[in-house]
Symmetry: C2
Subunit: 362 residues, 2 copies
């Protein structure tokens, strides 16, 4: 198979972690007889520095000329505490999602048994949790207009907007996913207060008649934020809007103990984009200590969803599982009990995973 | 002291739990030589049934004629799954908050040591957590207009609106509270995406110059949802908007193991309103098994904040602590290890608390 992949390292630790993943994908290519060609592109602070724009047209064009996108991370703290800046790294993410029609953000949350202890939640509550989130990614309050200040700057508004079409297409993906899993779908909204949530609930409810085998429940966002840590095993597939999904998936990362382990896929009309759920972690950027596993697992998701290379994807996941089984720990999940020679920085993790991949049977 | 209290039982278990609290407040009155006069009023489904309105004007008038309001709970499931109903119980809550100017919802989250085990979060993560939330309650997306469908019903919008004045007045309360505590204030927003959040952050930041002793941090809502369960001890005072506060405080209830233990105060320009954070729990309503402690502790908050009766308030909290210390458990927090004679239904809990109050030294 010959495939082209755009690699958008982005900001902070993005460069370090995508470098490891690109290497892993190259090894997979060699082992399984595929040709992957990588093209770099800019986003976020890195793109603002180089072009003045958080997501230049060239980046979009590059993505469109390839078969899938691997993204690192976006964001720098210098923007966060300066609310007056009009050009911001995160706009780059919002733009690329919108331009590529990436309306569905998919986040599997499944715990490696070796990492049960890393969570602040009790192991017996966590064990066996297996949730997949479908977060709407190009609508809702992160995109709605008007979004503005009044003339004297004393008031600001944002607009939460959803159309039936937007809800339906992501709900359909979630129903389809549920059919391949435990056939349970929980839709999260705030229908007791928000008009857009009532449209959301109505639309999901109407679609459910097409999937009579799927058991559908509706949950308010405040309750969902609570239930997710009270009893995560109750969930199978969760579908929700952009902001609610942003909040719940970050919260759910605590189920997995560390953000450093969680991949995501953003899919829609055209090509898919794959990225870790963690941010750019500027505090540790350039130190070579970031955990690259979320990015590596994003590479595995890419192979699976965009290229249909299930066996190759499983080989990567298997290497990560073996890495943990042999006691290796990246620095974010190491504990006092982790021996010195099992503590792995970014490069060491990449080398060890490459080594384990080489020993995986083809 | 002579004081008048409006009692709005509301829906579901509201009637059962406020009944217990009213009784406890009467006992406090006798023991400490105060005269409390109680006046009932309607809200929610109960009010819709009786008057067609979720919060009739008479309820507002009754509240205004008294010194404080004790509320039970609002909401019935029959409305949730019928998005077409125009009159909804929750509108009653929104209206009373707006009418009485209750712009600040205060939720202390502090764990009784005996209940550490009831949470899904590890005891060592929880122990020593002591957070107080200030949630803006009368602005933001739960109130903003326009909130509507387009003509053919295929699109819906809600509006998130904040003014500097709205942010400033609740931030000031939070700063004042921080000054009496560990002097740490965390403001939660989504300033990397939302215009209203940038106004929020700017306003909190500007106010901080008046409180140089308070250490101010700003956190994005998605990160906050994660940090709250990763390391709750990092927080002292949290201030945030209406919806973010709704989500975070419900999530934080898991820190306390059960919603059945958590009181809240809503204060602003006029009189204060006190209510449990739990809902109307219609599934167990009328069975006499609801945990009335959150309501009883709301009564304690009422005495403290609205009447300045600190000693009387502490007597109630002391009785609850003693109840737990003696091994009594309401049914929501009982475990397999709780002996039969220590399992307390609603009435038994009320009697036991009354008994313990009688033995508290005045
Ligand atoms: Mg996020
Ligand atoms: Mg709530």
């Amino acid at each position: 198979m010959n495939k082209k992949i755009t690699v958008i390292a982005g900001d902070g630790i993005g460069l370090e972690v995508t470098g490891i993943t690109q290497n892993i994908l190259e090894i997979i290519g060699e082992r399984f007889g595929h040709q992957f060609e990588f093209t770099p592109a800019l986003i976020g602070h890195a793109a603002i520095e180089a072009t003045g724009e958080p997501c230049p047209q060239k980046t979009i064009d590059t993505c469109r000329a390839t078969d899938a996108v691997l993204l690192g991370a976006v964001g720098m703290p210098m923007y966060d505490n300066n609310p007056n800046l009009k050009v911001r790294p995160e706009q780059g993410l919002l733009k690329i999602r919108k331009e590529l029609g990436l309306y569905s953000n998919i986040r599997p949350i499944k715990l490696f048994d070796e990492l049960l202890y890393t969570s602040s939640i009790k192991p017996e509550i966590l064990q066996g949790s297996d949730i997949i989130f479908f977060r709407e990614l190009t609508g809702g309050i992160y995109f709605g207009t008007p979004r503005e200040r009044n003339e004297d700057g004393t008031e600001a508004i944002d607009t939460l907007r959803y159309s039936k079409m937007e809800v339906e297409r992501i709900a359909r993906q979630a129903f389809e996913s549920a059919m391949t899993r435990r056939k349970k779908l929980c839709s999260v909204d705030k229908a007791n207060v928000l008009e857009s949530s009532r449209l959301w609930r109505e639309t999901v409810q109407a679609l459910s008649s097409e999937y009579p085998e799927v058991e559908v429940t509706h949950m308010f966002i405040d309750n969902a934020a609570m239930q997710l840590i009270r009893d995560p095993k109750q969930f199978d597939v969760i579908v929700t809007g952009n902001m609610f999904g942003d909040i719940l998936t970050d919260e759910a990362s605590q189920i997995a103990g560390s953000m450093g382990m969680l991949p995501s896929a953003s899919v829609g009309n055209e090509i898919g984009l794959y990225e870790p759920i963690h941010g750019s972690a500027p505090d540790i950027a350039g130190k070579g200590i970031a955990n690259p596993i979320a990015s590596v697992l994003s590479g595995a998701l890419l192979l699976d969803i965009s290229f249909g290379l299930k066996e190759e994807s499983d080989a990567i996941i298997g290497a990560v599982a073996q890495f943990l089984k042999e006691g290796y720990r990246t620095l974010d999940i190491a504990t006092d009990e982790t021996p010195e020679d099992k503590r792995m920085n970014t490069a060491q993790t990449g080398e060890k995973l490459a080594e384990l991949l080489a020993s995986v049977a083809v």
